[in-house]
Symmetry: C2
């Protein structure tokens, strides 16, 4: 009799950002929660629209801020984080991120990025002092949030070919670079290749099973698939000006591929 | 006696997105307005924080939307735009964009993109039917907003070298691709190379004159500098799957550079 390999119980935060509870995005978020729980994991959800998440960084985010005083967002976030004066909604989300072993962002791609409500979750939760800054390890190393995995799960109206390596919109990996490398890798999280559903303007109902089948497969690999092989800042590849050293990349490598370890690029 | 070349009077919309009226961003927006007006242009301003701009797309954006009905954002925007049922704040911004010969976005770079409030201006104003969609020319051609110029003016905390061609954050042109190519070029606007001020975490007061000097020079070229030479969809470079044809780019060209006409790349 063979014993099954014991499943390691992990903690996953699913952040979703669609205004319609009957949307494909909501269905994918629900699917991920159920799939991960049935695999034995703990899952928490931040449904930003249901939470009426405040998207805009403003003076109200800094309860200790003197009225009439000049608002320096970077310094204000650092001080508020250090002194425990962030607002309750931000603190609750930081606690979830800190609790998690993996973060999944579920969103419809609007204008080649996340919806404003999700950008506002990033702007307000990933504060100086929490996600980066002088009190934590440098960016692009273990960072402030090292040891966590990260997955973008996006629905995209356009067709897949237009986001392929020669697609007019740009390779999906390049279009999502600000999130994959700029948010996740910067803070020490290990991003997987994005999961994207294309052609969602007119996705036939019957294809939903194929979509969740593919998504389930990706969720099964959340802690075992190889992350995108970005280079670390302290791995000897960059100079003191944070520029890639000559010879670090294979000849002919250009653009954002420079920041992948050799032969690491997974083209779509 | 020589006569001076008559100045062509143009219309420019400046959209700014910083919560602090005494910030560098606010100062740059004010500078741009004064500089362009003194050159004889008409300027209008959308100061998103002062306007308390609503960042989040939700059901309130669709006054005709049946309560309890399923919200399809894309279809809802198309219908509301066509039937003149968009909200007053969105209509006012669309009127400004339509009025303009050039749009300038002034913002602090947060998480390698625009602040949520500005993303929400894009998400809510650039509706299906106004900025793209079946009723206007295709994307990446003259589009819905052709004949306009566009300029990103960003303040960036990090140093310039980290956003250079081999910089760890990625080349600034690649990082801003979702806005430059995905927003502006997609809708037919002609983007100029971005104007960026780096190292703003600790920018000495005495450098402000140098910054505005450089910015003034860029503003003087708003209608005469060469835009980023992106390829058009209908120029014969892409196939029916919207993929770049083999041989369209010079050998060795990869990544987002593929979508520039040959030798068009202006590296930083």
């Amino acid at each position: 009799m063979t014993e099954s390999v014991p499943q390691q119980r992990k903690k996953i935060l699913v952040v979703s950002a669609h205004p319609e509870p009957r949307s494909l995005n909501a269905a994918l978020a629900d699917f991920a929660v159920a799939h991960l729980r049935s695999a034995g994991h703990e899952v928490r959800v931040s449904d930003l629209y249901a939470m009426k998440w405040k998207a805009t960084v403003d003076a109200d985010d800094f309860p200790g801020h003197a009225p009439g005083g000049r608002l320096d967002v970077l310094a204000g976030q650092e001080r508020a984080t250090r002194e425990g004066r962030l607002t309750a909604d931000v603190l609750a989300e930081q606690e979830k991120v800190r609790w998690s072993d993996a973060v999944i962002l579920q969103f419809p791609m609007w204008w080649f990025s996340v919806p404003a409500i999700l950008k506002g979750w990033i702007d307000r939760v990933f504060t100086n002092g929490f996600a980066y800054g002088p009190s934590v390890p440098p960016p692009y190393t273990e960072g402030a949030l090292g040891g966590r995995r990260a997955l973008l799960s996006a629905t995209i109206g356009a067709r897949r070919s237009a986001f392929s390596d020669r697609g007019i919109h740009g390779d999906i990996a390049d279009v999502l670079h600000p999130l994959q490398h700029g948010l996740f890798w910067f803070t020490g999280m290990a991003p997987l290749a994005p999961f994207a559903v294309y052609g969602t303007v007119a996705l036939p109902e019957r294809e939903f099973a194929a979509v969740t089948g593919a998504y389930g497969h990706r969720l099964d690999g959340l802690f075992t698939d190889d992350p995108v092989p970005y280079r670390t800042l302290d791995g000897g590849d960059y100079d003191h000006h944070m520029r890639l050293l000559p010879g670090a990349a294979a000849p002919g490598t250009t653009g954002l591929d420079l920041h992948l370890r050799p032969r690491g690029r997974q083209r779509t």
